[in-house]
């Protein structure tokens, strides 16, 4: 398992430590904390009943390293716990918050559960809910990239549970056979809702799955942003050169519930969670930056406060807006609305006006 800094932020594999500008390293921390704050906000809003649903990300923020490792023209296929990829790419935070409230400014027109957003402007694919479907889609995009010879790649995230899905199998296989320019990243957070890894697969480590597809695999400490960054960078380079896809098993842990609807106390012990809490990616990367003198010890808190304020403002704006108009319900089924949807829209309007 590749690990570059340990949980105290000490460099343990100096030869693997990437050369990254200090400003960029601070950006990494900044985005990771933005993700954490967004998570705190989402959880609170859900508990307050202001939004209906929340998908926690706490503990998995090192995924930000993957965004840092690729180029703007590359395509990202997220699962649903990778908001950091979008934020790193520069998605407007207001768009995210408007989306959470499914209001009239939500770019997705209030059509999805909070947390499931994408944005074509940053090539961040709108996620599905059916598990695994994006894996083979990313392979198709990686093939298209090679076909178009535009030197871009696709990266895709999915969970440990998703490795059991049909589209993991087809995605890995199609990707390997066609040498698609794709990086497959499994966020092995040990749980698929209540199902532990040991009931998901009989193999000890998910990275073994790469073998059966004739694809190189690498296991990394998924809470170590340097491990994530370097592994994705290498894999993306390999893909960009036409040498085919790579499978990355990122070993991490979901510290929160599966979603706001879940009660993890039914299936796992607080002890385990506590153990993993020590290894969480933000504290550890902060320590590294402090050790190295890149930030002072109050910087993480300052960033946290900054985002706290930013999100609070966005939230109060978003919460006061109206829902999308009824017409939007009938848009985007097709490029142009067919006669029967026009009829149905008319009917629906008749009932709201009453």
């Amino acid at each position: 398992m590749r690990q570059i800094i340990d949980i105290e932020g000490n460099v343990i594999s100096p030869d693997l430590l990437p050369k990254v500008a200090k400003k960029e390293l601070v950006k990494w921390l900044d985005i990771m904390i933005a993700v954490r704050v967004l998570d705190e906000k989402g959880m609170r809003l859900q508990r307050q009943g202001r939004i209906g649903f929340h998908i926690p990300t706490t503990g998995q923020e090192a995924h930000v390293g993957a965004a840092a490792a690729i180029k703007d023209k590359d395509w990202i296929f997220p699962a649903y716990r990778e908001h950091g990829l979008a934020i790193y790419r520069g998605i407007a935070l207001a768009d995210i918050v408007n989306h959470l409230f499914a209001n009239d400014l939500d770019p997705q027109k209030g059509r999805r559960l909070p947390g499931l957003f994408g944005d074509s402007r940053i090539r961040f694919i709108n996620p599905s809910a059916p598990i695994g479907t994006q894996i083979v889609q990313a392979a198709g995009a990686g093939y298209a990239a090679r076909y178009k010879k535009d030197g871009s790649v696709s990266i895709v995230f999915f969970g440990d549970g998703a490795t059991s899905s049909n589209d993991f199998h087809s995605g890995m296989n199609f990707g390997a056979v066609t040498k698609a320019a794709t990086v497959f990243i499994c966020q092995n957070n040990q749980w698929a809702i209540s199902v532990p890894l040991s009931k998901q697969t009989a193999t000890k480590q998910l990275v073994d799955k790469a073998t059966g597809y004739g694809m190189p695999g690498i296991q990394i400490d998924g809470n170590d942003i340097f491990a994530m960054f370097t592994a994705v960078r290498e894999a993306a380079q390999r893909a960009r050169k036409g040498n085919g896809p790579t499978f990355i098993e990122s070993v991490t842990y979901r510290l929160g519930p599966h979603t706001s609807s879940d009660d993890p106390s039914k299936y796992r012990s607080e002890n385990d969670v506590e153990l993993w809490r020590q290894k969480e990616p933000i504290g550890r990367f902060s320590k590294y930056l402090i050790n190295e003198g890149i930030i002072d010890k109050d910087e993480p808190q300052r960033i946290h406060s900054k985002y706290d304020q930013i999100f609070n403002e966005l939230i109060s704006e978003a919460d006061n807006r109206s829902t999308p108009p009824l017409e939007t319900m009938f848009e985007d089924v097709f490029e142009t609305m067919p006669w029967y949807l026009e009829e149905q829209l008319e009917e629906a309007l008749r009932f709201t006006k009453e």
């Binding site: 059509r111 999805r112 695994g132 049909n166 319900m329 009938f330 629906a348």
Partner: protein, 325 residues
């Protein structure tokens, strides 16, 4: 005798069938220690153990295919698909295997099993936690389709489904999982598949519904009576395949006016089948347009789901249009 909700009736039926027959085995995602995301299997893992309440890997075609193997072997699997929206990966196993095993083998191999799945909208579940896919399966010969609308029926229909010699898709209206309680006997009873129930008798307009829409239809029927003195007959189909054609026939011939209420998209939904049956068999009795009140032909929405779904207002509007035609 206890007052139970629908979800509690599901659990009681599962529990009693497992106690009654060792070959009944449950499988699905998160049905073990977690007790199911809707708590349908709560306590059953503790009571019957992990061999009979099997938490599976995350793969629906796996769940159904595995169940097929169990059923071939003589077990009685009851598979849970966590949401009906996630049934699609299992489509090949359901359409090609479950539905066709008896036929393709000349009756030599059979795969009796129940596929339980929560379905339907109205719970703020959005595009992927709200679908009502019953029509796809009704169009597939070899599958029985059962959809209860009350706790009492739930227990009796689920028990009957588990004991049935043929595969049954059992769609559970999650919107009303906990909406109301009703007396549900502890004692063993079954409700035969293929029998509808006349939930409200009336002479003016026949309303055909099932699942959560039954209650929308009833609401509209009451209002039609109160506000417009239109006397509706409301039929809870309960089993879509095989359909209780006699109960429908008697009602249609009596009223000459028909409305169906279904929540899936309109085009080629099960409401279309109901309209077609009426228009084909009893056209000479029909006095007004055969109306379908349905979900719209869009993916299931989120914030606007209230506008999307059939409501008592929309059904009432249909009743009035039908009656005044």
């Amino acid at each position: 005798m206890a007052e139970l909700t629908i979800i509690e009736a599901v659990r009681l039926a599962l529990d009693q069938e497992m106690a009654r027959d060792e070959s009944v085995v449950l499988l699905g995602e998160d049905i073990g220690p977690d007790g199911g995301v809707f708590r349908a299997t709560q306590g059953l893992y503790e009571k019957y153990g992990g061999k009979r309440v099997l938490d599976t890997p995350l793969n629906e075609s796996g769940i159904i295919g595995f169940a097929v193997g169990m059923a071939l072997y003589g077990l009685r699997p009851v598979a849970e698909i966590q949401f009906a929206d996630f049934i699609w990966p299992a489509m090949d196993q359901i359409v090609s295997e479950v539905a066709k095993f008896r036929y393709r083998s000349g009756g030599m191999f059979t795969v009796p099993m129940v596929i339980r799945t929560p379905y339907g909208g109205g719970v703020k579940g959005a595009i992927y936690h709200s679908q009502s896919p019953e029509a796809y399966f009704a169009h597939t010969p070899g599958l029985k389709i059962v959809i209860p609308s009350s706790p009492y029926d739930t227990k009796g229909l689920l028990a009957a489904s588990i004991r049935d010699p043929d595969p049954v898709l059992f769609f559970e209206p999650k919107r009303i999982y906990r909406a109301f309680r009703e007396e549900v006997p502890e004692e063993d009873y079954t409700i035969p598949l293929g029998q509808a129930s006349v939930v409200r008798s009336g002479n003016d307009v026949t309303i055909l519904a099932y699942g959560a829409m039954l209650h929308v239809a009833m609401d509209a029927a009451e209002r039609a009576m109160e506000q417009h003195k239109i006397d509706c007959e409301v039929i809870d189909l309960r089993t879509l395949v095989p359909l209780d054609i006699e109960t429908i026939e008697a009602s249609v011939k009596k009223t000459g006016r028909v409305i169906s209420v279904t929540e899936s998209p309109k085009t080629a939904g099960f409401g279309a089948e109901l309209s077609a049956l009426v228009a084909e068999r009893w056209i000479e009795y029909i006095e007004s347009p055969i109306i379908r009140v349905t979900g719209y032909d869009t993916p299931f929405p989120f914030v606007l789901e209230h506008d999307y779904m059939p409501s008592a207002e929309k059904v009432l509007d249909g009743i009035i249009r039908s009656f005044n035609f």
